[in-house]
Subunit: 264 residues, 2 copies
């Protein structure tokens, strides 16, 4: 099955962070990437050049493909999927969005479709090792699901099946642990920069915070002034903050204080 899958032609619709991370992984796995499409000519050209594939800005003029990966902004997915359904009648069309239902592809007119959601944070400047990625698949039928699973396995991902409803919660949880944690890192960087202190000094703590929840539940891993009820320190820390950072401090401290813990 794997050899069959790998001989197949993939068209990549989108040139954002997810598309740009998946494209080289498909190439390495032996797929042929026959085309890269983006609404933006420059983005299409850049990604096409990077992986040695022709680039397009018109979906109707794309060459034939067996698999179409649609990885565009969630706001654009419906309209782009409709154009894809119009151009590709036989191909398996897979979208990569965490929060959007598979049904959106049926509504757009696709006949063979599914979801291929790699739950990871992708930035163009940092290559992703897919062997560390949890990838959630769903198909319009068992055959499509198995095909999506095989594609995910060929790039080395840890594959799980998930319904559209489960995926919504997975994506939401991902926003909390990844996008929002990173926003907290950004807030810390802002505080340190204002006081001439290096963000680098935080890295061991950031690593240990992440490593800890491999072993303890987040509740058991919780530490800090709010966890200990150190009201003196909390008041002194509030004095250093204002605006959104103060609001975040109060809200997250309140959440920690309202959680029921075992004895310290």
């Amino acid at each position: 099955m794997s050899a069959l899958v790998k001989s197949r032609r993939i068209a990549i619709i989108g040139a954002g962070n997810v598309a740009a991370s998946l494209a080289p992984a498909f190439l390495s796995a032996g797929f042929t990437v026959v085309a890269v499409w983006s609404r933006s000519e420059e983005s299409a050209r850049l990604l096409g050049k990077k992986i040695g594939s022709p680039s397009f800005t018109d979906i109707d003029s794309l060459p034939d493909a067996d698999i179409v990966i649609v990885s565009v902004t969630d706001n654009a997915l419906s309209s782009v999927a409709a154009a894809v359904a119009n151009r590709f009648k036989e191909a398996l069309v897979l979208h990569t969005a965490g929060s959007l239902p598979m049904a959106l592809l049926r509504e757009a007119g696709c006949s063979r479709y599914g979801v291929f959601y790699p739950m990871q944070t992708f930035s163009k400047s940092r290559p992703v090792d897919f062997s560390t990625v949890s990838l959630f698949v769903e198909g319009c039928c068992e055959e499509a699901t198995v095909e999506a699973e095989d594609i995910a396995l060929s790039i080395g991902a840890r594959v799980y099946r998930a319904t559209s409803e489960q995926r919504r919660f997975l994506h939401l949880a991902a926003v909390f642990v990844c996008n929002f944690s990173n926003a907290l890192y950004a807030m810390a960087a802002e505080l340190l920069e204002r006081n001439g202190l290096p963000f680098e000094a935080m890295l061991p703590l950031i690593d240990e915070t992440a490593a800890k929840v491999h072993q303890l539940s987040p509740r058991d891993a919780q530490t800090g002034p709010a966890r200990r009820g150190d009201t003196v320190v909390m008041q002194r820390q509030r004095e250093l903050l204002d605006g959104t950072l103060l609001e975040a401090y109060n809200l997250l401290s309140e959440y920690i204080q309202n959680t029921k813990y075992d004895k310290l």
Copy 2:
């Protein structure tokens, strides 16, 4: 200098997470831990037993020591430090609190004193490797500072000097990257648990989020719906939330949306 330091006697005042992590590190480095004190008889006894040192609940009855590490709740530090100053006239007294000024020890009556702040998240059930810990020291005089540095170096920590004011900001930044990130992990765990999904699936994403900021600044590493302006997804995600989690979603999304980024 190191050999001299290691021959010295340490008394540990406190039996919380920091004290319980430091005590075995001092032992491994060759110090003699002459006593463990805690207000709670049980906590003192448990930590004393663990490291093979006698335990006390009365500061006045502690044996002589060259170094006294005061690692108690921040709210209790002033009163405990006063009792320590009364019992130990010659010893170097070091507190481990991130947010409290060194001057507090002078005000408590200590004559030789300083700060020994290991910036890490400590839980009793997880041993800490001090070679990955940034440890910030401050002393009442150059001699005390050097002595604190030597103690920190003997347990293998990465040692920095920091003033009380700088340490306040370091501790505050630590609360954001560690305690608050962990609170977000707890929120995600809550969402997943309610929907029968495993928190384990988040671990690769948590690890990559932490690993990314070794290479990119948090601002450059930012991804997600708020970063992309995916308002459709954001609205759909808000529908899954209420209470504190919804407030956190809105506040952190707003922070991300208000940040100035380079082109996606």
